[in-house]
């Protein structure tokens, strides 16, 4: 057979899967990294992701423009972030509990408003064919890269640079590491956290838009299957470093593609085990990089889980 790639299908599927599946993880984890760097945890991003997916799909169906959908998702996501930040600005409010409440709220209203949009088809986001140099259709398909993935990659580098080199980056870090020092500098931790949470929400909703408008590219109530929650965990795994978030998201995407790819080349025994690969990988890396002697490196000092 002419285009038989045999076992090469596995690494190719991992690469293709890393590119296809990772984008929601990238956006949610980058958003959460910014929020957590400012000293707050928003566990509600799963809800924001699902609502973003619904909003993007609905607006894309109504207007015929997928980018209008992405924009609508961002606005909605920022709204969820502002709500979280505003509630948490009251004294003695637990950000984790508020996050869980907003997660359920976001999923619930996404299902409610999303009902009429399960059937219609929305226009998809454009992809850039980076694989045209290859004569193999498999390679071309794997390297058909969506614009949002590239944006996510650029954003990861930009955030990493901004945390180190810009005033805004410094402000977010100070607020996250010590609210007292921030106040002494004349900064308002509440305001900074409000905006950092809103920013995180907007990014998470872009991840949702990718799910419903590109891959797998349809809105239904099972679209996320917990990816928003996984991405929040990825942030800790990536030690609050935007570049780390990007790498971890790629790793998860690739590991997720392993199960179907192995079955397709004939390794068919024990596929449930392969589906657990991303989680086993997480456990191993967490064990390998942890140390009993010190706190998690890079953890913001104000974070309620590390305080």
């Amino acid at each position: 057979m002419e285009n038989d790639i045999g076992l090469w299908g596995v690494p190719l599927a991992i690469l293709g899967g890393a590119i296809r599946v990772s984008t929601p993880f990238i956006f949610v984890s980058l958003g959460e990294a910014v929020t957590e760097r400012s000293g707050r945890i928003n566990l509600g991003l799963e809800g924001t992701l699902v609502f973003g997916a619904m909003a993007a799909y609905a607006i894309a169906v109504e207007t015929g423009s997928p980018w209008a959908g992405v924009l609508a998702a961002m606005v909605a996501g920022a709204g969820f972030g502002l709500l979280h930040g505003w509630i948490c600005s009251f004294p003695r409010v637990n950000d984790i509990a508020v996050g869980i409440a907003l997660m359920l709220f976001g999923i619930g209203i996404a299902f409610f408003f999303g009902k009429p949009y399960i059937q219609p088809s929305a226009p998809n986001l454009p992809a850039i064919p980076l694989g045209d140099w290859s004569s193999l259709p498999q390679v071309r398909a794997a390297l058909n890269v969506n614009v949002l993935f590239l944006l996510g990659a650029v954003l990861a580098v930009a955030l990493w640079w901004a945390f180190k080199n810009t005033k805004i980056g410094l402000i977010v870090r100070v607020v996250g590491d010590s609210a007292d020092s921030a106040r002494a500098m004349g900064l308002s931790p509440t305001a900074v956290r409000l905006f950092a949470t809103a920013f995180g929400g907007a990014l998470a909703a872009i991840g949702g838009a990718y799910l419903s408008l590109y891959y797998p590219g349809s809105w239904n109530e099972r679209i996320s299957s917990g990816q928003g929650l996984m991405a929040v965990a990825l942030v800790i795994f990536a030690r609050w470093n935007p570049l780390g978030c990007f790498a971890a998201a790629m790793l998860f995407g690739g590991a997720g593609a392993l199960g179907p790819a192995l079955q397709s080349v004939g390794v068919t025994q024990g596929y449930y085990l392969f589906y657990a690969a991303p989680y086993i990988l997480t456990l191993l890396i967490m064990i390998a990089t942890s140390s009993p002697g010190r706190q998690l490196a890079g953890a913001p000092g104000e974070l309620s889980i590390t305080k």
């Binding site: 299908g9 599927a13 799910l211 891959y215 797998p216 590219g217 299957s225 790819a261 079955q263 589906y275």
Partner: protein, 374 residues
């Protein structure tokens, strides 16, 4: 212990009745206020407009609205956990349902069986379960259709359409109904060309959009050019396959609008036949059958109209096979046949017609299917 347990709902009911009594001084009114109409409850595991399994059931349920004296209660997105027991209890106690259709595979054991014992006056009919007179209560029952025949016809069209001689199947879980469909799809294709193979990928869940899309990509990467599936909502599979340039055969409901050029045909449920039959028995006060099965000739299963990509020879063989199946008793699994590990399933001359009860506990994949059940 269990006899003493009071469910929250019964507690609420009693206290509400008590409150009414105390406040107004009237006797507690009966809970089944809607005695005039017969209420039938439908429970779905996913959204009822999913282009798939749940939509097929919901369309069947809709047919009952045309009947006089029937009232419907429906609930969607009910997980296959103790949640479905609560839903059933609420449909019985609050809506007064006298017949329930919990439609998802995992609802049967233990959830529906537990409810059958708790509410012996209510009738339960489950889709796909294997009701056994000796083991299960008489107010339970099950219905299903021989949809594997539809997948066999899908396979016939796929066998004519494939150029790579490799076809693909995205499957959810390795349960008998799914395995029958995989086997039938391949055997249908092999009725056209015995060198065709079928690659199956199990996703492990009824509805996992991203994994289903990945599975389609992996199948197409390995050269499969006609794809079908057995998952709850085939929308993602159909769209992804069509985007990759592969042809698709549908399942559960018609997905033709999603990929008009690439859609060949599809095996669809026609549950309206079954639900109308049950409802008419119920209205007439007759006992409901416990074990209901039927195929294409009984109107339980139908085929989507053939798509524009179907060739003339494919159409001819499709129609001839369909006519044979309509005669009843068609056997897809017939000897000599081995499974894909080389073990003999049927010796020469041995055939399992669609009605064979053995097929409801299938645990093998036939020779030519690449995949494994565990």
């Amino acid at each position: 212990m269990t006899d003493l347990a009071i469910s929250r709902r019964s507690l609420l009911k009693t206290s509400a009745a008590g409150a009414a009594l105390g406040l107004v001084g009237w006797p507690a009114f009966p809970t089944r206020v809607r005695a005039a109409a017969t209420t039938i409850g439908f429970i779905y595991v996913g959204p009822k407009d999913d282009f798939g399994y749940n939509q097929a059931h919901a369309e069947g349920a809709k047919a009952l609205k045309a009947l006089d004296g029937i009232e419907l209660v429906e609930e969607e997105n009910v997980p296959e956990t103790v949640d479905v027991q609560k839903t059933m209890e609420s449909m019985i106690n609050l809506d007064g349902a006298s017949l329930l259709f919990p439609t998802s595979f995992g609802y049967f054991d233990p959830h529906m069986l537990a409810m059958c014992k708790k509410f012996p006056d209510v009738q339960f009919r489950h889709c796909g379960g294997l009701w056994d007179k000796s083991k299960h209560p008489t107010n339970a029952g099950s219905y299903f259709g021989y949809i594997a025949m539809g997948q066999y016809l899908n396979g016939v069209v796929a066998g004519h359409t494939t150029k790579s001689k490799k076809i693909g199947f995205v499957a959810a879980k390795p349960i008998p109904q799914v395995l029958n469909n995989v086997n039938a799809f391949l055997l249908g294709a092999r009725a056209v060309d015995p060198t065709i193979t079928c690659q199956v990928i199990f996703t492990g869940e009824w509805s996992l959009a991203v994994k289903e899309a990945e599975a389609v990509n992996a199948l197409v990467d390995q050269g499969a050019d006609v794809i079908t599936c057995h998952v709850d909502g085939p929308k993602v599979v159909v769209q992804t396959a069509a985007n990759r340039g592969a042809f698709v055969c549908g399942y559960h409901a018609s997905q033709a609008p999603l990929a008009p050029e690439k859609y060949l045909t599809g095996a669809e449920w026609n549950w309206a036949t079954v639900y109308t039959m049950y409802a008419k028995h119920l209205l007439a006060g007759e006992p409901l059958p416990n074990f209901t099965r039927g195929g294409i000739q009984d109107g339980f299963v139908k085929m989507s109209p053939l798509g524009p990509a179907v060739s003339e020879p494919a159409r001819k063989q499709f129609e001839a096979t369909l006519a044979d199946i309509r005669k009843g008793g068609y056997a897809v699994i017939k000897g000599p046949l081995k499974d894909n590990r080389g073990k003999e399933i049927a010796a020469v001359g041995k055939a399992f017609p669609e009605t064979a009860i053995e097929l409801e506990s299938t645990s093998f994949l036939v020779e030519g299917v690449q995949g494994s059940t565990s």
